[in-house]
């Protein structure tokens, strides 16, 4: 197991009380596996990433039963060692909105050279050669090494960020919304590029997105997050073939599918709960057409369904019935 997190909790302290943005998530990513994390805005996806990379503001608190990466215990690793040994070399981030992630007054290549030299003893010339190699991997011309970021297009900047993250062929590549803000054609090319990179580099990828389509295309395993909790976790194929949680069913309804052209898209009514005052029971209960009284009383535990599948719903026994009801619009909007 490459990355293992058990019962990960992140709490933001604020003037209006505490907000638990991530509430007890279990996450495990194997070697050279692509793990997708989906969920709507504000469900805590990015907070999970920030917790892993220690990018949270000082007002946030991270707790977990287990949080380890290979043989590093990320909960106790001192900041200096984390910075030198883990970041870039073991875990590298392709940030959200990579468009603005390059320093505007430094040449793109120089920033990557700097990052490489900060983490190794490589000479400037050697680091530069590596940058040209990396640019080749992500499909950027070597001339671009000496250009300023404002001379790049959005897609090129994104690829430059991926090149930077790949510098040490990290064991885990964290991509936070890599396709957001790009048009569909560039998105498609980028996803192709990610698949290509996977073939060349044996890194695992943690892919964060709100776009189910991106997950379906790239991920091996998927975790669906809702209101700071993991509601369902399964291999991609089985998740899309037969979702086991009403929220996943709702998400699936809300996205167009090429297999069911002309199907009406059904949105999930309502909005996620206020995490400053989280509900006692299931976070989705208020929006779920299948909720029972029991759902609102106690938080539903994660139940294993078959092999390698987890769902946090107490009605998994009735899932066949729920699935057939969920495709009707009247079930959600009555």
């Amino acid at each position: 197991m490459l990355l293992e997190a058990r019962n990960l909790r992140v709490t933001y302290g604020g003037v209006h009380g505490e907000v638990r943005a991530v509430d007890g998530i279990d996450l495990s990513i194997g070697e050279s596996e692509v793990f997708g994390l989906v969920g709507e805005s504000g469900c805590g996806k990015s907070t999970v990433v920030k917790a892993l990379l220690r990018l949270l503001p000082p007002s946030a608190r991270i707790e977990a039963d287990v949080l380890r990466f290979r043989d590093h215990d990320l909960l106790t690793l001192p900041p200096g060692r984390f910075r030198r040994e883990v970041l870039m070399r073991e875990i590298a981030l392709v940030p959200q909105s990579a468009q603005n992630s390059l320093n505007p007054v430094m040449r793109a290549g120089a920033q990557i050279v700097e990052a490489i030299r900060a983490h190794s003893d490589a000479s400037a010339a050697k680091a530069r050669k590596r940058v040209v190699e990396l640019f080749d991997i992500v499909g950027l011309q070597p001339e671009l090494v000496d250009r300023y970021p404002h001379e790049f297009s959005g897609g090129m900047r994104q690829r430059a960020m991926i090149a930077m993250a790949l510098a040490f062929e990290p064991a885990l590549l964290v991509m936070d919304e890599p396709t957001t803000g790009l048009d569909v054609l560039v998105q498609e090319r980028l996803l192709g590029r990610i698949r290509e990179i996977r073939a060349r580099v044996r890194s695992s990828i943690l892919l964060i997105t709100h776009d189910i389509g991106v997950i379906a295309e790239t991920a091996d395993r998927v975790g669906v997050m809702y209101a700071g909790q993991m509601v369902e976790c399964a291999p991609t194929l089985s998740l899309f073939a037969a979702p086991c949680h009403p929220y996943t069913l709702g998400l699936q309804n809300a996205f167009p599918s090429i297999l069911a052209l002309g199907r009406e898209l059904i949105s999930i009514p309502g909005s996620p709960p206020d995490l400053a005052a989280p509900p006692l029971g299931c976070g989705f209960a208020d929006r779920c057409p299948f909720a029972l009284e029991a759902c609102r009383v106690k938080r539903p535990p994660q139940v294993a369904i078959g092999q390698d599948r987890l769902s946090a719903c107490i009605r998994t026994a009735d899932i066949e019935h729920i699935r057939s009801a969920a495709v009707k619009k009247a079930t959600w909007h009555c």
């Binding site: 990379l53 990018l55 000082p58 910075r83 030198r84 883990v86 970041l87 870039m88 590298a92 981030l93 940030p95 909105s97 468009q99 603005n100 992630s101 390059l102 320093n103 505007p104 007054v105 430094m106 700097e114 990052a115 490489i116 900060a118 983490h119 190794s120 003893d121 490589a122 000479s123 400037a124 010339a125 050697k126 680091a127 590596r130 300023y148 404002h150 960020m161 930077m164 993250a165 510098a167 040490f168 062929e169 064991a171 044996r202």
Partner: protein
């Protein structure tokens, strides 16, 4: 996992000096272009260049010894001569040549201006960067310190300093530095706070950059135009401050400065009659200070970093 970058340290690549040279040339050309693009800026740069040359080669340029009481051709003392003839800027009541005095004073003025201007921007920039970047308690302490300095009036401060330690250039510089850094610290702090919210800073942190690296490699270059703006502004302020301190008699008695020449005039009591004695140092002060202000204005025009190197 195979490591694409083995940790072998090899010798620094040859030609590092050449590359440094090229970088310095590029920076010079870049700054030259900023100044050139503004007409007043180029005028200011010219004035500063001339003043710098006079300061450097002063002792070889003076027609007379600035402290010598001179005689005219007919043997009389050259007391309070109008400008013209042998004495281009006239003479003082002690028959000293004003031009020679002015040339000598240029050096002192430039040294005081540059040294205190540069030290103050160094202090101000670092306090601003650290305060703005770390925020919280560090920010609070540093900014309250700045507030205290803002509350200190310059003249009483230098009077106390001189009363304690005696009149010398060093203390004049110290007094100026201790006062001037405050404005640059505040402005640079504000700019740093804006910049640290930018995505590229978070991103640098995500790839393991240390705080110092983020501050000096990523944030500082982004505020470079602002930094240069405040450098020339601080130098201008230092020159004015030094002149007023010297005029009031708080300067170094052994060093000739423009303010000091004005003080000699005041003490001699010829303020109303010897207009040339007054004209030369005051116009020199105004000219040099406005030259620095003009140059800083040229930088203000490009204070937006994205215009860089287009």
């Amino acid at each position: 996992m195979s490591d694409p970058l083995p940790e072998a340290a090899d010798a620094p690549a040859p030609g590092r000096l050449a590359r440094w040279g090229a970088a310095v040339r590029r920076e010079m050309a870049f700054n030259w272009r900023i100044i050139r693009s503004d007409r007043l800026g180029s005028f200011g740069a010219l004035v500063i260049l001339i003043a710098a040359l006079i300061a450097l080669f002063g002792p070889w340029l003076t027609p007379h010894d600035p402290y010598e009481s001179l005689r005219m051709a007919d043997g009389r003392m050259a007391v309070l001569q109008r400008p013209g003839g042998e004495f281009l800027l006239g003479t003082t009541n002690l028959a000293r040549d004003l031009l020679s005095q002015m040339i000598f004073a240029t050096r002192t003025t430039m040294i005081i201006g540059l040294v205190s201007g540069l030290i103050s921007i160094l202090i101000g920039a670092n306090i601003g960067l650290i305060s703005g970047y770390y925020g919280g308690r560090i920010d609070n302490v540093l900014m309250r310190l700045t507030d205290i300095v803002y509350g200190m009036p310059f003249l009483p401060f230098i009077i106390v300093l001189i009363a304690l330690f005696g009149r010398s250039i060093g203390f004049v510089i110290l007094a100026i530095v201790l006062i001037v850094w405050r404005t640059s610290a505040r402005v640079i702090r504000a700019q740093t706070m804006a910049l640290k919210q930018r995505q590229f800073v978070a991103c640098a942190r995500a790839r393991g950059a240390s705080d110092m690296r983020i501050i000096y490699r990523h944030i500082a270059p982004n505020i470079l135009p602002l930094l240069l703006l405040y450098t020339s502004f601080n130098i201008a302020w230092a020159i004015v401050t030094e002149a007023s301190a010297s005029f009031l008699g708080f300067g170094d008695p052994h060093a000739l400065t423009w303010g000091g020449i004005l003080q000699d005039l005041w003490v001699s009591g010829y303020t109303r009659s010897a207009w040339w004695w007054f004209a030369a140092p005051s116009s020199a002060i105004v000219l040099l200070v406005s030259a620095f202000v003009f140059v800083s204005r040229a930088y203000e025009v490009v204070a937006n970093p994205r215009l860089a190197d287009r």
